[in-house]
């Protein structure tokens, strides 16, 4: 975890995040987001979370973003939206002000985070972030939350099926 790869990857991540926001084409936007996710996955690897990194690729890049692409292609809407649209100019103004305020707050607060006791990386065992440890933590300490997450997924699945049924229209 050294500064050089961190900064290099940060640039990539931020650049593609910006591309997502500023891009005209939704499919290109989705691809930018995939690259951003890949960069974040590498961050996860750097932070010793290998299992989560792989899950990030498999779930976000492999499933969620494919779903986005799928819907984009299914609807296949062209040129309805024009990048940074003009209509309510005030909206963009508000967004800019709020964004700057948010950045400012984070800029002020981030250095304070060092005071939380984790300024430097803690010494962790070799298997930190391994599937075994994630599994143990998940099923030992957070079993109930896990079961609830399962229910949420089930409910979401049923909701999606019901919503997407043609009859609704």
């Amino acid at each position: 975890m050294t500064l050089l790869p961190f900064i290099a990857l940060s640039v990539v991540a931020i650049a593609f995040a910006l591309l997502l926001v500023l891009n005209r084409n939704a499919v290109h936007g989705a691809l930018c987001l995939v690259v951003n996710f890949a960069a974040v996955a590498v961050f996860f690897l750097m932070l010793g979370a290998e299992f989560i990194a792989v899950v990030q690729v498999a779930v976000y890049a492999g499933a969620i973003m494919v779903l986005f692409l799928f819907v984009l292609m299914l609807l296949n809407i062209q040129g309805q939206e024009g990048g940074l649209e003009q209509k309510p100019r005030s909206q963009i103004l508000i967004a800019a002000v709020l964004g700057i305020l948010l950045l400012a707050e984070i800029g002020v607060l981030a250095p304070l985070a060092a005071g939380l006791g984790g300024a430097q990386a803690a010494a962790v065992p070799a298997d930190f972030g391994s599937p075994r440890l994630v599994g143990l933590t998940l099923f030992r300490d957070h079993l109930l939350a896990f079961e609830i997450a399962a229910f949420i997924l089930l409910a979401a699945m049923m909701g999606a099926v019901v919503l997407a049924k043609r009859r609704l229209a």
Binding site: L33, I52, V59, V71, L103, A114, G118, G129, A149, L163
Partner: protein, 105 residues
Amino acid sequence: MAWNAPVPFASWVMLSGVLFSIGAVGFLIRKDPIIMFMCIELMLNAGNLLFIAAARYLGIMAGQVFVFFVMAVAAAEVAVGLAIIVAIFRTKSTIDVDEMSGMRG
């Protein structure tokens, strides 16, 4: 500062914060709900990144498990959200969010 110096925790917070801000601003300025959705995913990811970083710097596994849950919820949210968008598109033949301002379809 040497290039191979360790990354301080504050940098992770900053990075995560910048990504989050981009997502938030993107959500505010775009009109295509699918892109707005992607901006939400971006914000969630920024949060995940902070979780993982905190887990590493504090040496606590719980952070990684939380990310796991965030992913599960994000997947659920995308499934339902996209289904809603598809349903709206079917009835309105448009997915401009500003067109979706009525309380009934």
